[in-house]
């Protein structure tokens, strides 16, 4: 029937569709900003706590894995999977989905936990982490588990892959957002800076990077191993817009992401200062927990702390 209409009406129909899409996006954005009230924040904080518990259980069952970064980034992953991302857990390949790329793939336990909680696969499957035949590989593998977007582990490659995806979006005239999560430690890899230079030069405004600035790496504190400061000034000199926030504060993080979306002439990096091992007192800020999994005693203590919010809630 559409083909029968004369050309003018065809164009009018197209214009009306575009306007409709614009208003739908506008409504979504308004919905996002006005419903971020205290209740919603509390809900997200509870979910983050649940995710932390799942991480401890996963790592105990797996017998290996990376605790510190996974716990530290639980708030940001919760914010993504339960508030920020436009996505469809039942249809992970939905073409218009926002893309979340995890470059520091070793913290995949928290990603797997957030994905399971939001409906990508059953929470039960989390206990297969790192086991033979599992979809939950020790470092995330795109073709093993729908929804991962990239394969990562070796540091410094995720931002470049995110750039390729962001450029694809522009070529296809698509409006989805591309988020690249990186670690502070991987800024010691040269190829990270290749990507940073490229994104700055090409003004990739549909790309937002989040750095897990937890100040630790395998051999010690980042500023002792290979200092990264002044990190903000470095990014600014490469033509990026830089925001610095408390990465364990969900409201601050969501506000920063919204701010990033409003900047159109530069890519934005959010330097998220996080506490590695957040939520478990004996893990917090200790680089030893970067690549370690808890044994059953440690896991029991950790879960007790998480369930009682480090003693703030009394057991009955």
């Amino acid at each position: 029937m559409v083909l029968v209409l004369p050309y003018f009406y065809h164009t009018l129909l197209y214009f009306l569709c575009q306007t409709l899409v614009f208003f739908l996006n506008l409504i979504h954005a308004i919905k996002v900003s006005i419903t971020l009230n205290a209740e919603k924040i509390k809900d997200l904080e509870l979910k983050a706590n649940q995710a932390r518990q799942l991480v401890i259980e996963m790592l105990l069952t797996a017998g290996s894995g990376h605790a510190a970064g996974s716990l530290g980034m639980a708030d940001i992953f919760t914010a993504f999977y339960f508030h920020i991302l436009r996505h469809d857990p039942i249809n992970p390949a939905w073409p218009d989905r926002d893309r979340l790329i995890l470059s520091n793939g070793h913290i995949c336990p928290i990603r797997y936990a957030a994905m399971a909680m939001s409906g990508y696969f059953p929470v039960e499957e989390l206990k297969t982490l790192r086991k033979l035949g599992s979809r939950l590989q020790g470092h995330p593998h795109r073709t093993s588990l729908p929804g991962l977007e990239t394969t990562s582990g070796p540091l410094g490659e995720g931002l470049s892959q995110a750039i390729g995806i962001a450029l694809s979006a522009k070529l296809d005239k698509k409006n989805y957002q591309v988020y690249a999560l990186t670690s502070d430690g991987e800024h010691e890899e040269g190829n990270t800076w290749e990507a940073i230079m490229f994104a700055g030069k090409n003004k990739l405004s549909n790309l937002t990077e989040v750095i897990d600035r937890n100040n630790i790496q395998i051999d010690g504190m980042t500023e002792n191993i290979m200092p990264l400061e002044p990190l903000k000034a470095k990014y600014e000199s490469f033509n990026w817009n830089v925001l610095e926030i408390d990465g364990n504060n969900i409201r601050e993080f969501i506000d920063a992401v919204n701010q990033a979306k409003s900047v159109s002439e530069k890519p934005t990096v959010i330097i998220a200062n996080t506490i590695p091992g957040m939520g478990v007192s004996f893990m917090e800020k200790d680089f030893v927990w970067h690549g370690k999994a808890p044994n059953s005693d440690e896991a029991k203590k950790a879960l007790d702390e998480l369930r009682t919010l480090q003693g703030r809630i009394r057991n009955d």
Binding site: T150, E157, Q161, I163, S168, F198
Partner: protein, 342 residues
Amino acid sequence: MLNPKLYLNKNLFESTVEKKATREGFGEALVELGQTNENVVVLTADLSESTRTEEFAKKFPERFFEVGVAEQNMVAIAAGFGTNGKIAFTSSYAVFSPGKNWETIRTTIAYNQSNVKIAGHHSGLLTGPDGATHQSTEDIALMRVLPNMTIFSPCDAIEAKKVTLEAAKINGPVYLRFTRDKTPILTSEQTPFDRNNIETFWINENPKVTIFATGYLLFQALLATKKLEEQGIEVLVANVSTIKPVDENTIIELAKKSGKVVTVEDHQVTGGMGSMIAEVLAQNLPTPIEFVGLKDTFGESGQPLELIKKYNLDDEAIEKAVRKILAKPTGQKLYRTSGNLY
């Protein structure tokens, strides 16, 4: 004689044979792909002129991406394209890509199964005056060892265009090996190309030796063959333009015809095309093999033809290899030379 079914270049042995660099074929194919396939994107790391991607860049600037001297960034960006509906071609010298960025290719392209075609230019000693740092003599080995990687090594500019167009049809990682210098045209537009089939360029009813050659050195193998024929030594010459996946059946069939094999490549003997042939035959039909290639040495600056002569890759070296293998008995008894593998 030259295989009449393949419509090879009749002027092949004339001094006036047309010469064209394989990288030209690559550049032409990219322009054609740009016109016919809107999903093709091309990236280069500051080498658009010498990799011949600049024609594509001029015609399709919105699909051309210059990353500067950053080969790891180039292939990882390509990996992002390749998992989002695009067919991404990367271009740089083979020493840098896949040399410098091998692990990035392994993780984000091969293991990740992204639809990326990696063009490795200036391969082999043929690169010439730039010297060993720019002569890639290890790239076939680097790419052979990666799962999910298809490898094309065209014998001339016409075949180079065909393999590039073919690469776009494959859904997955492909490595394309090109050279800098002008080399003789061996085929024609009518020469069939089948990526699953090794073609015999010089046929013989009763060959004494089977020669497997890859890339431009196929011409040197044919020159050697002509001389050997004149002396009553009959050989068979096959063009290995697809190094991976392996056409096991043809390799075994052709080796069986003569019982002796010589392999020819502008590449280290270790891990190259010759190794691939050896792996097939050792498992199925143990056959004496003589490898013509770099014997665990780097090259140096010089003119291309000077270099292939000095490093024993030319028609004289191939002729010597044929005579050497003829002196070896077939079957169980094989005599090791002096104790060194080479």
